[in-house]
Structure formats: structure tokens, C-alpha cells
């Protein structure tokens, strides 16, 4: 069974690789459709990744633009040694890192005055399931807010590994490829990132009265 799963994964990877190479070839030929396809495939995951790493929609938008600019300009140098996805994610991670470094140098002294209403979205717009009950909706909001806040407080190195694994859903090998580190380092970072998150969430829950919403039969 395990062998068949492995074969299936290998087959899927091979198909993806051939799709990637075809897409890259089309990009090099300047096909308009290829540019559109690339955007359609990767703009959402790259934006999510940047947003989770930076926790700021405006910075995330800047990073996404920089990422695609670099992708378009360097697609000629893409040799197919890694998958297109990990290559793009690697660029995104580096750009997010640069953005964060720039932010700590400059932006933390600034006070924004512009209205961000254009990009602002209500939380309801971002929920996957719009048909849930108001109770679930509020509970989801609380959980998500708590997790998001905890995510911003952990070390950015561990955060990148956890985000790539649990939110972007990359495999350990892909994460190692994206972060350009060994598999052992990836395992360590994911473990330490999750433990740090658990610790942060534990602190948060201890500081607030616990509420358990468990279904119970009336006595």
C-alpha cells in the first residue's frame, strides 16, 4: 500500500514537473496565456504565504509584486532543478525576509495616514464556509485571531517553516528546497515552531477564562 502511494506521488510529481517545464517554455516564448496561467496558479498561494509571514496586507501586496517581477525576469534562468512552485516560494520567502528587514530599519518609525479601506475586507469575505452558524462563525473568528496573533509572536525562522508546512501544505522535502536548508533543519524548525506556537497559545489561554463549548445532554 505504502509502495503504491509512493508510486502515485512520484507519478503526480512527474506530471507536475512536465507541466512546470511546459509552462516555463511557454513563458520563455512570450505566450500571453502562459503569463496568465502562472498568475492564476501562484498569485493566491504566494499572497497567502507573504501575508502569513508579514501579517500586513499592504506589505504582502508589495512582496507579491516583487516576487512576480523576479519570476518574469528570471524565468530564463530557471533550470528545472527544483519545481516551479518551490522556486517561486523561495523567491517569496527571500522577498518577505527583505521586506521585514526593511520594515525594521525604516517603517516602524512611520505613522500611516492613508485610508486602507480599498483593500480592507470583512472577515466574513475571507471565510471558506459562508453557510456556518453564527456561533461557529464567532468561535472561528476567536480561534483564528488567537492563532494569527500567536503566529506573529514566534521567531520568523520557525514561522516560515510552520507556515510552509501547515498553511501552504508543502512536504518536508519541498520546504528544505524552498528554505535551502537540510531536511534535519526543516524537521527541527517545524518542531520548534509548533512548540513555540503551542507555548504562545497556552499563555494566551491561561490569561483568559477557559470556555469549553462541548455538547452535553441536559441532566
Amino acid at each position: 500500500m505504502a509502495t503504491s502511494i509512493l508510486e502515485l506521488n512520484a507519478q503526480k510529481t512527474a506530471v507536475t514537473d512536465s507541466e512546470d517545464l511546459a509552462l516555463v517554455r511557454a513563458l520563455r516564448e512570450g505566450s500571453e496565456r502562459a503569463y496568465e496561467t502562472l498568475l492564476l496558479r501562484f498569485q493566491q498561494p504566494v499572497y497567502n504565504l507573504a501575508l502569513r509571514l508579514l501579517n500586513d496586507p499592504s506589505d504582502a501586496s508589495d512582496v507579491v509584486q516583487e516576487v512576480f517581477l523576479k519570476v518574469f525576469r528570471n524565468v530564463g534562468h530557471f533550470r528545472g532543478q527544483s519545481s516551479l512552485k518551490t522556486w517561486i516560494f523561495r523567491i517569496a520567502i527571500n522577498e518577505a525576509h527583505n521586506q521585514r528587514r526593511w520594515f525594521f530599519r525604516h517603517r516602524h518609525r512611520e505613522v500611516g495616514i492613508e485610508d486602507e479601506q480599498d483593500d480592507a475586507r470583512s472577515r466574513a469575505d475571507t471565510l471558506a464556509d459562508a453557510a456556518q452558524s453564527p456561533f461557529d462563525y464567532v468561535l472561528d473568528l476567536e480561534n483564528q485571531a488567537v492563532i494569527e496573533a500567536a503566529l506573529t509572536r514566534i521567531n520568523p525562522t520557525f514561522r516560515a517553516a510552520v507556515v510552509l508546512r501547515d498553511i501552504t501544505d508543502l512536504s518536508y522535502e519541498e520546504i528544505a528546497d524552498v528554505l535551502q536548508v537540510s531536511l534535519g533543519t526543516v524537521k527541527s524548525r517545524i518542531l520548534r515552531g509548533r512548540e513555540a506556537l503551542r507555548h504562545e497559545l497556552g499563555k494566551k489561554l491561561q490569561s483568559q477564562p477557559l470556555m469549553h463549548w462541548l455538547p452535553k445532554t441536559a441532566e
Binding site: A2, R28, G30, E32, Y35, E36, L38, L39, Q43, Q44, Y47, N48, L51, P57, S61, V64, Q65, F68, L69, F72, R73, D118, D119, R121, R123, D125, T126, L127, A128, D140, N143, Q144, I147, E148, L151, V162, V163, R165, D166, I167, D169, Y172, K187, I190, L191, R194, E195, L197, R198, L201
Partner: protein, 226 residues
């Protein structure tokens, strides 16, 4: 299997990266150890929470910006695919850069040039040599007062340089001795001379004004022999 060992492998266990005997041992430990089982439950809930986090949609503005970016980059890429196209693109780029550089300067440069030419045209008539006119009074300058006529004074033995003050009507009004000694006799001579002398008054922009005239008195002895 110790709790620490299990805790270190829980993250991978959760991701189904632990297999074989080790997985069996971890599972057995979790069945016995409530703390490690609770730890695994926490991690599992945490991972589910992260997986179920909403995926914020890409803002519409960003989508548009990316499409514009893709369009520009595609045009740029297509323009550099062959050498003639690349050369043409570079030529256009250089021309555009030059235009962008010169356009802000064009209006000030043209305005300055036209102004300079206009001023030069206005000044040209004044630069040429004027025909000299006799007895013409220069109007743009100061002219000093001059002695026109004076009665020969009865000069004593004194030698002196005297500055005469001449008013705008050409009359000497006062004097001051600049050098030498003036005896009482010579003072009388000077007063007399001032009374009868005629001066051309000094002018300033063509108008008569007060001025000064230096007059030197020196006795010259002629010795005639023979």
C-alpha cells in the same frame, strides 16, 4: 521509550513521517502516557487550526497590478528575443530616456535663450562706438568744475596749492589750503582772484552742481642776462 523522545518525534508523527517500529513504539507510549497524548492532541488541534485558517483573497487592486506587470514584462521579453528587436528596443529606450531627461529642461532652456537674445538685441545699439561731438556734455558722468578765466594775482613769494569751492553758478565761494603756507598778503590776493575769476561749474548727470578746483600758485623767476 522516554517521554522526551516521544515529544521530539510527535511533530513528525503528526505528519505521518514516522513509520515502522518507531511508529508502533510511539503509539504504544501514547496509549499509556496521558501527558504525551494531551501534547499530541494540542499539536493536532494547532495544526488543524492553521490548516483551517481562512485564505484571504488576493485584493482586486493587486490582481490588476499583477496583470499590468505581466503584460509589461511579456512585451519586454518579446522585444529582446532577437538581436534586431533588442537593438530597436534599446534605441527606443535610449530615446525615451533622453526625451525624459531633456523635456523638463526644454522650456526653461528655450525661454532663457530667447530672453538672452532679446536683451542682447536691446544692448547692441549701445555697444557701437559713438561719433564724437565737440562740446557735447556727457550726461552719464560727473564733470569737474574748471577754471575759465582768472585775473593774474599779485603773487608774493609764497608757493601753495589751494582748493577752491565752486558753486553751481560757477562762482568760487570758499577756499582751503591744501599745501604750503599762505601769508596774509596772499590771502588778500586770493580773495580778489576768487571774486573776479569765472568757472565752469561741475555737472552731475548734466546738471550743474557744487564742485572743487585745485589751483597751484608758484612763483617762477626768470633771470635775464645780457
Amino acid at each position: 521509550m522516554s517521554c522526551q523522545t516521544v515529544l521530539n518525534s510527535l511533530s513528525e508523527f503528526l505528519d505521518h513521517r514516522v513509520s515502522g517500529d518507531e511508529r508502533t513504539r510511539v503509539t504504544a507510549h501514547l496509549a499509556e502516557c496521558r501527558e504525551c497524548a494531551a501534547h499530541l492532541r494540542d499539536l493536532s488541534e494547532l495544526r488543524n487550526g492553521l490548516k483551517n485558517m481562512p485564505q484571504p483573497a488576493v485584493p482586486e487592486r493587486l490582481r490588476t497590478q499583477l496583470q499590468v506587470l505581466a503584460s509589461h514584462e511579456r512585451a519586454r521579453w518579446n522585444a529582446t528575443k532577437t538581436l534586431p528587436l533588442a537593438l530597436r528596443t534599446w534605441a527606443v529606450d535610449i530615446k525615451l530616456a533622453a526625451d525624459n531627461l531633456m523635456r523638463p529642461l526644454a522650456v526653461p532652456l528655450a525661454g532663457g535663450l530667447v530672453s538672452a537674445l532679446l536683451l542682447f538685441a536691446l544692448l547692441v545699439p549701445t555697444l557701437g562706438s559713438r561719433p564724437s561731438v565737440l562740446n557735447d556734455v556727457p550726461t552719464g558722468f560727473y564733470t569737474a568744475a574748471t577754471l575759465v578765466e582768472a585775473a593774474p594775482p599779485d603773487i608774493s613769494n609764497d608757493e601753495a596749492i589751494v582748493e577752491l569751492h565752486v558753486d553751481s553758478k560757477g562762482q568760487a565761494t570758499d577756499y582751503s589750503v591744501q599745501r604750503g603756507q599762505v601769508s596774509p598778503a596772499m590771502q588778500a590776493d586770493l580773495t580778489q582772484m576768487m571774486f573776479f575769476a569765472r568757472f565752469t561749474p561741475a555737472t552731475w548727470f548734466g546738471q550743474p552742481t557744487n564742485g572743487k578746483v585745485l589751483v597751484s600758485f608758484r612763483r617762477i623767476n626768470y633771470v635775464v642776462r645780457g
